[in-house]
Amino acid sequence: MRRRAKINPIRAFFIVVPLAIMLFWTLGPIYWIVVTAFTTNDQLYRPVLSLFPDPITLSHFRELFWESPFLRQLRNSFYVSTITTVVSAVVGCTAAYAITRLKFRGRQLIARFLIWSYLVPASVLFIPLFSLVQTLGLVGNTNSLLLAYLTFTVPFCTWLLIGYFKTLPVELEEAAMVDGCSHVGALWRITLPLAAPALVVTTLFSFTLSWNEFLYAIVLVTNPVDQTVTAGIATFVGEDVYFWGKMFAGAILMSLPPVILYLAGQRWVVGGLTMGGVKA
């Protein structure tokens, strides 16, 4: 319950004006992405200001689908993000359970190492990882991205789940184990169902982080048909002078999965962030 203020014109002014400015600043570029994707090239590249597409065209989408490897790249992105998400959720759950529920030497150290490794930036790791992937003979292979993405999803998922597992009552698991359940059984039957909200947040973030990743995507894979969408969209620049319409058609489509996930998981996301305080 917040205090109830009467409508105060000064207070209203200090809320409405900044809010309006922020909405304009935030939504302006997004509006422009959408407009550009539906505007004909004739209209895009003439020195006359026009703020609406007239006529509306789907030619950029057509070009994107039939004359570029975009659909292949979309498939690659789904492939990489889904596998990364599933693997890191499983790895994260078992690791977080071990750290929060089992007693053994070294777990504090490993917990510290996890958070530390999450913060080592990709811009430091990408050079040795490129070299490593080259040694493994995986350069240019979409699967090499799986290895690279685990470097940020695994520490992230584990850290977030450690925080959540700590808030769950241990008594239920202990009761289950008194009744003859093993540790693994307790994790599977008791802890995981209780941790469902945290699992939703971790999978949502892992998927989005992998989907949006750019640096590894351009460094490790260079052949367009094997690239993911983030890398693919950047290659439009050199091909043609008039690439903007096609690029933003692709931009809209590739933004849909993270936007849909965000809208679907919105109510968990805000709480989830305070658990780990995280975004890439």
């Binding site: 939504l27 790895v91 071990a98």
Partner: protein, 300 residues
């Protein structure tokens, strides 16, 4: 004998050590194989002259010395600090302002919140290109609008002007990064007990006093974690510079991830690229150190 040995190991390693390490094995494999080992390998690479696809030769600290003697390196430090400090400062101020507004009882609050979080949900590469297109000097909507309104006579080369380019990157960083701050600050505001405000009101405190004596102290932990995380991410993000300017014109907007990329991948000099990345690492080590301490403490 053997049973005794096993028991001793259990005493040393703790009750559940076998299952514990078994469950941790996959995570440890990632930590050691994909993070720790590559990190150490980066140090080894930085001491070599190592072109892509050819064997390296050991050159000691030569890469670092060449780099530290180059004036470009200092320009890159300056640019990285501008993006990090100004970017984080602006994101903090704007993010806090938006969070305070969205924390008020206003109509359609959920809608405004969802709309204002939008930049955070779309891939950075997409927002980067949208800014590049808006700022395009020939066909960009910003130049056309400004000249249409009579504010400018001739088009401004936003991204090609050595003085302006870095500030355009800061603007794009601000646009994309503000929601993360707003989101965390809103979550932080929601746990400050409203009784504190009521009590302060009764004692005659005004809005400004409430802000400085209740709101800010109540948010301090969220502020520190958010700002430190964001400082690391902002300074190490390649995409803005890569998409908007590629570091140009010249090196006017080059930040350290861009320099590491163009040395390692562009110039195919992995050793020099690693030296660039590692030269900046101490700065992040300090940030990571403070952040890790904070995050572990707030976990307790």
């Amino acid at each position: 004998m053997r049973a005794l040995g096993r028991r001793n190991l259990r005493d040393v390693m703790g009750r559940d050590w076998i299952l514990g390490y078994l469950l941790l094995l996959p995570a440890l494999a990632v930590l050691v194989g994909l993070i720790a080992y590559p990190f150490l390998y980066a140090i080894y690479l930085s001491l070599q002259n190592k072109p892509i696809g050819a064997p390296g030769t050991f050159v000691g600290l030569q890469n670092f010395l060449t780099l530290w003697r180059s004036p470009i390196f200092y320009q890159v430090i300056r640019n990285t600090l501008i993006v990090m400090i100004v970017g984080v400062g602006l994101k903090f101020l704007v993010g806090l302002m938006v969070a305070l507004i969205l924390n008020e009882r206003i109509k359609l609050r959920g809608l405004w919140r969802a709309l204002l979080f939008f930049p955070w949900t779309i891939p950075i590469v997409v927002s980067g290109f949208s800014w590049r297109w808006i700022l395009d000097d020939m066909n960009g909507v910003l130049n056309m609008t400004l000249s249409h309104l009579g504010i400018i006579d001739s088009y401004i080369v936003w991204l090609g002007d050595p003085k302006l380019a870095i500030w355009m990157i800061v603007a794009a960083v601000l646009w994309e990064g503000t929601p993360f701050y707003t989101m965390n600050f809103l979550a932080g505001l929601s746990v400050i007990p409203s009784e504190l405000y009521e009590a302060a009101r009764i004692d005659g405190a005004g809005s400004i006093q409430c802000f400085f004596h209740i709101t800010l102290p109540g948010l301090s932990n969220v502020i520190i974690i958010t700002t430190l995380l964001s400082a690391i991410w902002t300074a190490t993000e390649l995409q803005w510079v890569f998409v908007l300017t590629k570091g140009g014109p010249g090196h006017a907007s080059e930040t350290f991830p861009m320099m590491a990329y163009s040395q390692a991948i562009g110039a195919k000099a992995l050793g020099m690229g690693a030296a660039v990345a590692l030269s900046f690492f101490p700065m992040f080590l300090v940030l990571i150190f403070f952040l890790t301490r904070r995050m572990l403490r707030s976990e307790e």
